[in-house]
């Protein structure tokens, strides 16, 4: 679900996938768009691929659902894929092996500079959304209690129950720091449970607050309200297309096509798109085509 946030690991399947990828590609005159192995990444790759096709007339090949950050990064560095969408926080911590930073501008600056100098890759303009942890509550509760931000939550926390996934409870940028930053004190220690089940438990009123992923389609499907991280506690994971600089030099139109996507997909829009794929099970290519037609005619 949130695989892009995890540290890259060279699992056997991903290495096999990489080997298959390496052997499958010969010399070519077309672009290859890659994606990591979860819905959002696949969907963004499809949008990027169709946008390049529409605007440049180049042939674009899809290599979707590759085995995670490590495989995509190796593939693009070795030139087996030309474009994929990466998250700034993941690039900083997983690829560049730096400690997490809170300020989105610093993260972007470091990632852009290092990608250019170390890998000859261009870090594109962010697409708009930030796929980080999202503190979510039932909409009815948010309206009744007048909750808009996580700071507002501190007021009702002593009466509320929280249910969190293990990753959120254990990560250095997870619950402990959040509670400290906002002075959250719940009625009882948060219930530790499976991330997917926390959504269910919240919807059924078994807990009152959870920490999901900010672009998860379930947030739309279950009618949840995401509280704003007004003290900027969560590190930024802004999505942006990564492109080989050699490709941009050979086909400047690709850069212009990708620049059109900048800032066009805010959190709520990404959530809606993910819901179309994960909840309504629509075809990715169809979702991408409809979105492009509506937003970038």
């Amino acid at each position: 679900m949130n695989g892009h946030r995890r540290a890259p690991r060279a699992s056997l399947p991903s290495l096999v996938a990489l080997a298959a990828l390496v052997t499958a590609c010969g010399p070519r005159d077309r672009l290859v768009v890659g994606a990591k192995n979860f819905t959002e990444s696949d969907l963004l790759a499809e949008i990027v691929a169709q946008q390049i096709e529409r605007r440049t007339g180049l042939r674009v090949e899809r290599r979707l659902h590759l085995g995670g950050t490590f495989v995509c990064h190796e593939a693009i560095v070795s030139g087996r894929i030309d474009v994929y969408v990466e998250y700034s926080g993941t690039a900083l911590t997983a690829v560049l092996q730096r400690p997490p930073l809170q300020d989105p501008d610093s993260v972007s600056r470091i990632v852009r500079a290092e990608y250019a100098s170390r890998f000859d890759l261009a870090w594109g303009e962010p697409l708009g959304f930030d796929n980080t942890f999202a503190v979510a509550v039932r909409r009815a509760d948010a309206e009744r209690e007048g909750l808009r931000t996580i700071a507002d939550l501190a007021r009702v926390a002593p009466r509320w129950r929280a249910g969190f996934g293990y990753e959120f409870l254990e990560r250095p940028d997870g619950f402990t720091g959040l509670a400290r930053t906002y002075g959250l004190a719940f009625a009882a220690p948060p219930v530790a449970m499976d991330l997917g089940l926390t959504y269910r438990a919240l919807a059924d009123g078994r807990v009152d607050v959870i920490a999901g992923n900010s672009t998860d389609g379930l947030i739309v499907a279950l009618g949840l309200t995401v509280l704003e991280d007004d003290r900027r506690y969560f590190p930024p994971y802004h999505a942006a297309p990564v492109v080989r600089r050699a490709v941009l030099e050979r086909h400047p139109a690709v850069g212009r096509a990708l620049a059109e996507l900048a800032g066009r997909i805010p959190d709520a829009e990404m959530r809606r798109l993910n819901a179309q794929a994960d909840v309504e099970h629509q075809d990715l290519a169809v979702i991408a085509r409809a979105w492009l037609a509506a937003n970038l005619p």
């Binding site: 996934g165 254990e170 499976d194 269910r200 438990a201």
Partner: protein, 210 residues
């Protein structure tokens, strides 16, 4: 090794989780036995129910635990989050071996022995308590043993619904890509399963001896 250091530093928490694990498996197995044994006996008296009841217990086995939890969360009384829901799920998984072995054990009693009992003027109830159950006891206990050993492993999923147990270390370890943590939960669970198996097989052997 890291693991020894980990236990040394977290002995209180580790023992607490081990205790939760034992309670989860113990309560679930007792409840499953209390439901499964009478049901198994009833099936020997009502053979027509055999197919549907065993079929249902079979189907229960195939429900993935996370899906089962998903179904249970909204239910009143047996649902929600926490130990109760986890125990309900563990009972559901433990029923099949207990029902099946109770049924098999009793129907496996030598018909000649049963005839002899009837010939002595025993009524059905006496036949059951004095002849069939004692003779079937090792097989019935073998069913409880299977349910317990499987339950020790299955109970690690209780951590997915906020019920604690050794699975907490496994879930934490998976979430943070920490092999030591995963082992800290998996290793004692495996040892516990072996210990339960050895202990119950000892009881079983004692029952087999006349």
């Amino acid at each position: 090794m890291d693991l020894i250091g980990f236990y040394a530093r977290n002995s209180g928490e580790a023992l607490g989780l081990l205790g939760q694990h034992l309670v989860l498996v113990g309560v679930a197995t007792l409840v499953a036995a209390a439901i499964g044994m009478p049901l198994g006996v009833a099936l020997t008296r009502r053979p027509r129910w055999r197919g549907p009841v065993l079929g249902l217990a079979n189907v229960f086995q195939t429900i993935p635990s996370l899906a089962l939890f998903g179904f249970l969360i909204p239910l009143p009384f047996i649902g929600g989050i926490g130990a109760r829901t986890a125990i309900v799920a563990l009972v559901v998984y433990a029923l099949l071996p207990i029902i099946r072995n109770t049924y098999t054990g009793i129907t496996g009693v030598d018909p000649a022995v049963r005839e002899a009992g009837l010939g002595m003027g025993m009524r059905d109830r006496e036949l059951l308590w004095l002849v069939e159950l004692p003779l079937a006891a090792p097989v019935i206990l073998a069913g409880v043993r299977i349910a317990t050993v499987v339950g020790v492993g299955t109970a690690t999923i209780a951590a997915a619904i906020g019920a604690g147990g050794l699975g907490v270390y496994i879930f934490r370890g998976v979430a943070t890509v920490n092999d030591t943590l995963i082992l800290a939960g998996a290793l004692p669970a495996a040892l516990l399963a072996l210990a339960a198996d050895a202990g119950l097989s000892l009881v079983e052997r004692r029952l087999r001896r006349p």
